[in-house]
Symmetry: C2
Subunit: 236 residues, 2 copies
């Protein structure tokens, strides 16, 4: 117990539960698990060869970060964000990310730029690739850019908040996204990093706000199909 303990949010909870949580989380963020899908404790437990006890712990953690909805005596479901929720997620991102960018700029080093460039290149590579698998990876890569910026701040709390916001954004995009996010999204990421590298932090902030606006504008929030009755009907 010498080095660790610096990242307070890195609470191990339980070994097995942490793994299950990570796997399900990734599946949700990459849209392999559709919103509304039932996550039966028995099924999940059987899948991972563990008892319901540990599955419950994982589902509870996911519920806390808004990726899973737990209904009493009914079980856990992949979250199905409402329009109001979606708007709150992006409002919160607009509130946090410019400040996050300024804070990242204060800690910025050359190696960080290199890391960011590598992420952009990966994103670029995926954009030109075809197939659903590439599309999934692209969604994740897009979020990773924002998470990398959060990591630069060295602020574990901020990182966790962003973790949650990015994951939930992915869910929202999965539900309400119209076009593929890529086209505009990737170019904007590049512009933000460019501005950051030039030292023009305020320009980067402005670009970031526009970027978030664009993501939200690409959503089709008109759909009132977020009626839980209808939803149940469709999925059963």
């Amino acid at each position: 117990m010498t080095t660790a303990n610096l990242a307070p949010a890195e609470n191990a909870i339980d070994t097995g539960a942490q793994h299950i949580r990570d796997v399900i989380r990734e599946a949700i963020v990459e849209r392999r698990l559709a919103p509304g899908t039932k996550l039966s404790e028995n099924d999940v437990g059987g899948l991972f060869n563990v008892s319901r006890t540990v599955v419950r712990a994982a589902l509870q953690a996911l519920s806390y970060e808004g990726l899973v909805t737990v209904e009493k005596n009914r079980g856990a479901f992949v979250a199905y964000p409402s329009v109001a929720e979606a708007q709150q997620i992006f409002a919160t991102r607009r509130l946090i990310e410019p400040g996050l960018l300024r804070e990242a700029a204060r800690h910025l080093e050359k190696r960080h730029i290199k890391e960011l460039r590598a992420l952009l290149a990966e994103e670029d590579r995926l954009t030109s690739e075809r197939g659903q698998s590439a599309r999934r990876a692209e969604i994740k890569a897009s979020g990773d850019v924002h998470l990398a910026l959060a990591a630069i701040t060295g602020n574990a709390i901020l990182q966790r908040f962003m973790d949650e916001l990015i994951a939930r954004s992915s869910l929202v995009i999965a539900l309400y996204g119209q076009s593929v996010v890529s086209s505009c999204g990737h170019a904007e990421h590049q512009q933000i990093i460019d501005a950051l590298e030039k030292g023009d932090v305020e320009a980067a902030c402005t670009l970031m706000l526009k970027h978030i606006d664009h993501i939200e504008a690409d959503l089709d929030l008109r759909t009132t199909k977020r009626d839980s009755n209808l939803k149940d009907a469709l999925l059963l």
Copy 2:
């Protein structure tokens, strides 16, 4: 299921666990439970007349919001924030609260002002009262002002982030606070609300930043006594 469901973060988890979580949480925030205190599953369970199962769920939730530290095979303890953690908490608050204030101003109505005034009056009342119990209530009341501002935004995610930040701030103040927070803290709250009522949002933001600076300045972060070995020795 007509009205509810609007607050997505209000996941019920478990009935019993939720209650235990709330009680322990309040005890930590009000400093009745000292940082570092062991929270044995058996003891807590006996106290609430429930099995370890439900206690674990509560402790896990508390761990997720940083109020409790869970060490593998060792159990749960009331969190003992490091200096680095404390700095991150306040850095995050400085990043969020000005934006939160602007967002609150957009939704501000007369009834909100009345609510805020009532909170300030309560804070004032507690300030003039003597005794440890009043001091505890004062710490909580001070946080409530910030939480009320978050509530005005109507953004449930933002509210949850602030919930966590305020709770952890209370812990930090409990550990590192020198003087009683009240004297300067309360007057500053009043100034912020005054500026808000006048419609001068930017002034309110400036005051808020200064306010957070003052809270942090009142901490004695020099103390390197955050050595877990020493801590164990002292508490046993």
